[in-house]
Symmetry: C2
Subunit: 201 residues, 2 copies
DNA sequence: TTGACAAGTGACCTCTCGTTCACTATAATA
DNA sequence: TATTATAGTGAACGAGAGGTCACTTGTCAA
């Protein structure tokens, strides 16, 4: 109970910061949500800003481990349908994992105030996705599944619309199901346009 | 001078809110930037929240007039190159118009806290762009410039990546030139993939 | 000239914020 | 058992927040 208070503070801070922003959150509410009194927080963090920094450190670290390293690249699918399935698996995960949803919201809120948040937002929302899918499309081109073209351009053309729908999902979680369906529709449209294989593959 | 103080307050509020958020901005700084003292603000707005509401009203109204009405739809280009030029004109405008840049940043920051900001963000970042370009692609299909397909899906596939680059531009305005160049590269890629016309058109 | 009104001022109010600190309770250690 | 470190408490602090108000100034119409 006592030992993990630091972690619980971070979790609640992520929750509140991602809803009302750093400036819009006060530590009295934060600690109260944990059944504590505000001064108790200072046994675990030296300031409110220290919570923010620890949160960002965690987000940066998690991103690097989970999405940033070369060994975590998605596998190259063996068919166009495989690309659709790979995509839907990733989207289902990223849309329903509360921690990742809150991370995106927090980055959207704080990206213009904090330099590190800005950099991480750029990765989360655009460049990281391109880096992730460029080798996927390069591999699919080598396998003859996708027409030969600039794989980075294809990764961009593929991930950016999906990223936009994920954002829409963050805004309107009550419409998650239909938005995810739109992701799948787009994915199938994409393989229809760019694929060189019988789409039953 | 005195007459337009209300407008100047709104302009400065947009500036500050779009950088530090509503909660992260205080009215002493705001009025000081205008050479006023904070109590003077209350001659023009009854509260800080009233500024926020007036700002949102203005944004909603401006969007409806500028992007939301049917008569302001972009013209259907006569060639694939025309689509590229149309796009670049719009992007150059939206990326360099300070007021629109600040509006996007503000919506990104406040979209999870305020219901109206959330709705407007959805339009600005996704649905409005689709609505705008769906008739463009429908018209281009009728002219035989673009392969027949679901025009709304094409509008989505076209505008979402461009929107993502515009966001990147908001995050990194120092790289605006190269990001705009990426918009053009994407636009040309798109017409190459979807076009049915000699791209010299 | 007077009166009325809008715009701006500075002092002041109350509230909440982040933060500090002396203190207590607990549990592990020596 | 005595000691020490850790986690949590509650009162208090200073700063800064949003907001109010009596007052001054400038403008313009009557």
């Amino acid at each position: 109970m006592a030992k993990d208070t630091k972690e619980r503070i971070l979790a609640t801070a992520l929750e509140m910061f991602s809803q009302n922003g750093y400036a819009g959150t006060n530590i009295r509410e934060l600690t109260q949500a944990l059944g504590l009194v505000k001064s108790s927080m200072y046994k675990h963090f030296e300031s409110k800003e220290a919570i923010w920094n620890a949160l960002l450190d965690g987000m940066i670290d998690y991103y690097a481990r989970r999405f940033g390293s070369a060994e975590n690249l998605p596998p190259v699918p063996d068919s166009l349908e495989g690309l659709v399935r790979l995509t839907m698996g990733m989207v289902d995960f990223t849309v329903h994992d509360e921690r990742i949803v809150m991370t995106r919201k927090l980055l959207a809120i704080e990206q213009f105030r904090d330099e590190r948040a800005r950099a991480l937002a750029g990765k989360h929302f655009l460049t990281g996705l391109i880096q992730m899918f460029t080798p996927v499309f390069a591999g699919m081109m080598e396998k003859g599944l996708i027409r030969r073209d600039d794989p980075e351009m294809l990764a961009f053309a593929y991930t950016a619309p999906i990223s936009a729908l994920i954002h829409q999902c963050d805004r309107e979680p009550e419409h998650a199901a239909e938005i995810v369906a739109r992701v799948e529709a787009f994915s199938r449209h994409f393989v229809k346009v760019y694929g060189e294989e019988d789409p039953r593959g």
